[in-house]
Symmetry: C2
Subunit: 489 residues, 2 copies
Amino acid sequence: MNDKTSVLTCELVNLSTRKLKKIQTMKRTKVVDVLKSTDFGKEVVVKGWVRTHRSSKAVDFIALNDGSTIKNIQIVVDPSKINADTLKSITTGACLCVTGTLVESQGKGQSVEIQCQDIEVYGLCGSDYPMQKKGQSFEYMRQHAHMRLRTNTFGAVMRIRHNMAFAIHQYFHEHGFFYFHTPLITASDAEGAGEMFQVTTQNLNDLKKGEDGKVSYEDDFFGKMTSLTVSGQLEGELGATALGQIYTFGPTFRAENSNTPRHLAEFWMIEPEIAFIALPDLMDLEEDFIKYCVRWALDNCKDDLDFLNSMIDKTLLERLQGVLKNDFVRLTYTDGIKILEEAAANGHKFEFPVSWGMDLASEHERFLVEHHFKKPVIMYDYPKEIKAFYMKINEDGKTVQGTDVLFPQIGEIIGGSVREESLEKLTSEIERRHIPMKDMWWYLDTRKYGTCPHGGFGLGFERLILFVTGMQNIRDVIPFPRTPKNAEF
Amino acid sequence: MNDKTSVLTCELVNLSTRKLKKIQTMKRTKVVDVLKSTDFGKEVVVKGWVRTHRSSKAVDFIALNDGSTIKNIQIVVDPSKINADTLKSITTGACLCVTGTLVESQGKGQSVEIQCQDIEVYGLCGSDYPMQKKGQSFEYMRQHAHMRLRTNTFGAVMRIRHNMAFAIHQYFHEHGFFYFHTPLITASDAEGAGEMFQVTTQNLNDLKKGEDGKVSYEDDFFGKMTSLTVSGQLEGELGATALGQIYTFGPTFRAENSNTPRHLAEFWMIEPEIAFIALPDLMDLEEDFIKYCVRWALDNCKDDLDFLNSMIDKTLLERLQGVLKNDFVRLTYTDGIKILEEAAANGHKFEFPVSWGMDLASEHERFLVEHHFKKPVIMYDYPKEIKAFYMKINEDGKTVQGTDVLFPQIGEIIGGSVREESLEKLTSEIERRHIPMKDMWWYLDTRKYGTCPHGGFGLGFERLILFVTGMQNIRDVIPFPRTPKNAEF
């Protein structure tokens, strides 16, 4: 069947591909690499978008950026060598392919530049370009989220976001965790953690009703009511009690009508879960993990952090270095309350009065972290009534082995716990709380068959990015934020 | 405010944490590390689940597995040293903490074993344990997906899945791509790629209707009708035309009522998108990328692949090595059709007759890959009518720069294209196809403002895992599959 004609055809095809490659224009060099090069006199091709174009009689300067770095490459153009109309048409936002010679820069602010030989215009950019002007408000940027990625600030944030995601995968891989994909569409509600989005394939204009007059899910895609998950933890526990150590890293959803700078309806969460871990080791893991991420940012995102430190938050680098420098405080909830009560007794005004059993408000967390200890705090042994049903109950019967990591500016950045591994205790807690567990027989099976001590924590990815970038609004650290009344792009 | 008493309290807390750490039991060693150790005579602690327990008068053998590797550590127990009732209670699935001495193994099949000194039982396991018996059907395993993770096969698949995800992040990071999180909840339909799941916060039993009698989305969470995305490509193009090179890696949804071994309603997809790339380079990237993943598996998942090769698919390793050994064929659609037509003329029977313009069926793809070339094929320049609106139209006006990678057994594993960068051509194609673009003004803006040549591709993650593991059903390569009428766990 493999006859000669066909083989020939194939070889001709391969030849033509090779030929096609040769006649292609020279390969482009990324701006990040050009800026590091000292190969002066060499011909290079760079491609990117115009940030600025300054003209004079003798020379034109074009600052070109291709997204690989926050820095631009300066293109020096002799206007007599380029068609005057073409040169004039090159405005901010235009996309160019520039061929030229790499030379040492005469000017300040850069070490290399390109003496232009030729410009090919890929795409012009009209004066209605939304990113034309500098210094637009963040709210304006959000309305143009599809174009804000081309600005210095959002380029920096997105490159740091990539680096933090990569650091997380690297950390867990190095430490023998397996990345575990828990489902997003779920028929159960993990911890009653919040309002959920319903997922359906029914035609809302023609809903099927049951005999009781209520909507019947019989013909819906999954044959029952389903929602978007608020946490992968319970499924993560299934993974950890089989594979030993797993982590999730995926989108998570809350249908809360919260129009605040700290809430998203769709966000990314990291949830490691570890078999055979006890509370002190869990707290060590939390500290080690988050320091690894911060160190990664300082080691790998210098240019972007320098930019954000100078333009967005002048204390950013200092705060990141502070996290690395200090051991995190280990503080029981009970001791934390004592410190806050003493502070109140000594005249510090809190909006919400302090008493044992309360859920700490942001003002309390910040007092402990920013004012009292001046370093991150890992709080543990919380009152059981303010924590979730699955946390391991201490011998005192009042507290559970929950552990939150409290950070300056951000407040709670990590929440975790050792899980209750006793089927009896877990079941009785579920009953005491009247939690409907009919759809969660599988979760209880982990305690029924070879149960083991285990624990884990959750980190809201965007909270981490807020901390590492110094940005103030969570809508500005994810490409296309989902918030009440906003699913644009 | 930072008074002495509080500082003291804090120090006491830190002291008690340190003390707590000291009195903890010895740290466990993972089975994967114990098996590599030659530190004979050393006391070790291992924790895990019992795979088998064989008893005799003189000695008990317990095979313990902790998920870190497919291999078990053999625990050798002198029954006179352990409480007889305890020892008897230890059955398949029980969870143990074993303290003992590492010794060279006398038996076959392992190089080290542990002479048991003490056993702590974390959790017993009743005889109703669903993973009790070996050799259960895959369908049975799916019904117990929460427990199948504790078996050899699913442990192997999940560790390989982790490694493939890590290899993907590693590849793109090394090559200067940025991980870009495109939204899952969307108000637009990327390419009409399939049926979508609707997302809503409305109470289906009490829907608000508009004046026209139809459901009003005014009060829904996003104020409009929203769905789960079928592709992140269009948003990915926004990223690439700002940051240069991005990739997505996240869940994707199709509400197709397909009960097949190759379809999931919720699956993970990888979609790189690259500015300034032309078709030959895009095909090179596809080949390089997928070879990197396969090489990673061979280099990092040896034990698991050996197991799958012996238990699931005896040609697995050979097929993986075959991918690395061969250059992928580059073949235009038109030449592919010629080969198929010749084969038909020479007597090969195809179920679906071959003619230019048709969408290739699985039998055609497999003929080319498995029969004719006997290696992977990258097909390109497809008829425009069978491909999506955004693909770059060739000068012939009939074909587009689409490129699919065809693999043995799997068929299409990658689908990609160079995108049409001309606003005029793209708009006219959209109009010609009557695609509603009212919600996609932002996508067209990439062509309006500084448009650039670009392209990318999509890889269904589970298709890759099928190929790399030799598993036959896509429901067996994701922890908790979502399929019609099934959202369990």
